[in-house]
């Protein structure tokens, strides 16, 4: 499959790889996908409790090059954004930025889900109203 240079760059130089302390109240963890489907993404955010700004993000992904690139890009994009701003990132933004081929749109959907799941986890821990994340739809 011919990938865009951006996918190849993220694959070769993945940004923000790693893990954060799941137990910390400042950290939200999203684990999406399934091994049987060929991709699992774990995206974590560390949110400043005062400002609600995402100060750090980490990921690990089992999946194809597009899945790795999508999650790597997602960590870059959420960093520095407020939780509310991060929720406006959609999979189509990721598809556009990485020029993903149609069969790989799935990977971008997974990355969007991972962002929402991580924010959802953080909100749950901190008793923040869930409304903004209600859009996480099964698909």
């Amino acid at each position: 499959m011919a990938y865009s240079d951006k996918v190849i760059d993220h694959y070769n130089n993945p940004r923000n790889v790693g893990q954060m302390d799941k137990g910390s109240d400042e950290v939200g963890t999203g684990l999406v996908g399934a091994p049987e489907c060929g991709d699992v993404m774990r995206l974590q955010i560390r949110v400043n409790p005062e400002t609600q700004v995402i100060e750090d993000a980490k990921f690990k992904t089992f999946g194809c090059g597009s899945a790795i690139a999508s999650s790597s890009l997602a960590t870059e994009w959420v960093k520095g954004k407020t939780v509310a701003e991060a929720l406006t990132i959609t999979n189509t933004d990721i598809v556009k930025e990485l020029a993903l081929p149609p069969v790989k749109i799935h990977c971008s959907v997974l990355a969007e889900d991972a962002i929402r799941a991580a924010i959802g986890d953080w909100k749950k821990k901190n008793n923040v109203a869930e409304t903004a994340t209600a859009a996480v739809a099964a698909h």
């Binding site: 499959m1 999406v32 091994p35 489907c37 690990k60 089992f62 194809c64 069969v103 997974l110 889900d113």
Partner: protein, 417 residues
């Protein structure tokens, strides 16, 4: 494909990209090309032209090729029918036998790990009223002869079991299957595309009635194959699927592809002479490749029975790493992912799943296909690169991290998507 040239000089004998996908196709042997060349030029005659020297010359070349092919599989020249390749051979065998013997019965037996050229043809025959039994395979890829015995009934006219599998390299107990078929008066066909020229195939000793083979899998040209059809004990009849002129004993009409046939013959002759030494060399390289992986990496395993195995095949699962992302990291090496995850359905290999592998492991599998022209230096380059990329991807893999931390992945409730 983007080929990343390494900054450090390559080891002697390594030229990129490296081809290690010899189950898909093989490069043309230069000796084969040399044999074919005159038939693209001055020796252009039609082998069916009986009234001049151009035709006789072509016919002679075709007859020689028939001898060369027959010799490789223990047949006689008259039993070789030329086709456009193994897909056509398989179609001709299955449809031709089904049609010819329909009055005797409508039951066909095959196995779940066959190539699509068999499975899709069987599906078509099912639509025409044939009953097809798809035998399962055991965890090592071999069928259970008892399953075959149980599946046979008085309506069974044909058993089609491939000689060696194209993904996992497993060689079925062909002689035993053939013996059983002969005892029951059932015709035995085998798709021997991956086996012919690689391991000793003998239609008499193996009790084979009909056999498909292909040129481009044995360092011959593409677009040419053959079907062996037994003439005695039993005499097998095949209803023709292409009409027009009655070429090839009426079984397959169409002007013969003389240069292709000459190439197929030459390729078979080389195999007859060199197969034994080549198989030994390939098996050594294969075992060396496997040993290197096993020394450097954990959570890997080999798919398919290694006792009954093609010498050049190694199908390995690098668990917790996804196959396509692994291929992306070794893009100057041509191997094949066991997973068909580039397709819209994202389905992993049905052959690996038939062995009982979970989808997650099937997604993590790579097929290495070693061939005549692969060198030890190439095997070293490929293994080092794969080990490096697998290690990097595992650093990225949440599954590998979880397993290392002692988490049971099967206990996690994964979000379906």
């Amino acid at each position: 494909m983007i080929i990343t040239e390494s900054a450090t000089p390559l080891p002697a004998g390594v030229h990129l990209p490296i081809y290690m996908d010899n189950h898909a196709t093989t490069p043309l042997d230069p000796r084969v090309l040399e044999a074919m060349m005159p038939y693209f030029g001055p020796k252009f005659g039609n082998a069916a032209s009986r009234n001049h020297s151009f035709g006789w010359e072509a016919e002679q070349a075709v007859d020689k090729a028939r001898e060369q092919i027959a010799k490789l599989i223990g047949a006689t020249a008259k039993e070789i029918i030329f086709t456009s390749g193994a897909t056509e051979s398989n179609n001709l065998a299955l449809k031709g036998i089904a049609e010819m013997y329909r009055e005797r019965g409508n039951h066909i037996i095959t196995q779940v790990t066959e190539h699509k050229a068999i499975l899709d043809t069987c599906k078509k025959l099912e639509k025409q009223g044939f009953r097809v039994t798809y035998l399962p395979v055991q965890a090592d890829g071999l069928i259970d002869i008892e399953d075959l015995k149980r599946a046979m009934d008085d309506k069974t006219i044909l058993v089609s079991i491939m000689y060696a599998n194209n993904e996992i390299g497993v060689i079925q107990p062909i002689a035993e299957i053939g013996k059983l078929c002969h005892e029951k008066g059932v015709i035995f066909h085998t798709d021997a595309v991956q086996a012919v020229g690689k391991v000793p195939v003998n239609v008499i000793a193996d009790n084979i009635d009909v056999l498909s083979l292909s040129g481009h899998k044995i360092y011959g040209p593409k677009g040419v194959g053959a079907l062996y059809v037994r003439r005695r004990n039993p005499r097998v009849q095949i209803s023709e699927q292409i009409n027009g002129g009655g070429h090839e004993r009426g079984m397959r009409s169409g002007t013969l592809n003389v240069p292709g046939i000459v190439g197929l013959g030459a390729a078979c002759e080389i195999c007859s002479n060199e197969m034994e030494a080549e198989a030994k060399r390939e098996a050594e390289l294969r075992d060396y490749l496997r040993a290197k992986f096993e020394k450097a990496l954990d959570y890997i395993h080999v798919n398919g029975n290694m006792e009954h195995h093609l010498p050049g095949n190694l199908n390995m699962s690098f668990v917790h790493v996804e196959g396509e992302s692994l291929l992306m990291g070794i893009n100057d090496v041509a191997v094949s992912s066991g997973s068909a995850c580039t397709s819209a359905t994202l389905e992993p290999s049905y052959v690996l799943k038939a062995l009982g592998l979970g989808d997650d492991v099937a997604h993590s599998s790579i097929r290495f296909g070693l061939g005549r022209f692969n060198t030890k230096a190439e095997v070293d380059y490929v293994s080092d690169k794969v080990i490096d990329v697998v290690s990097k991807l595992r650093e990225l893999s949440p599954l590998y991290e979880m397993v290392k931390e002692g988490i049971d992945l099967s206990k996690i409730e994964w979000a379906a998507h």
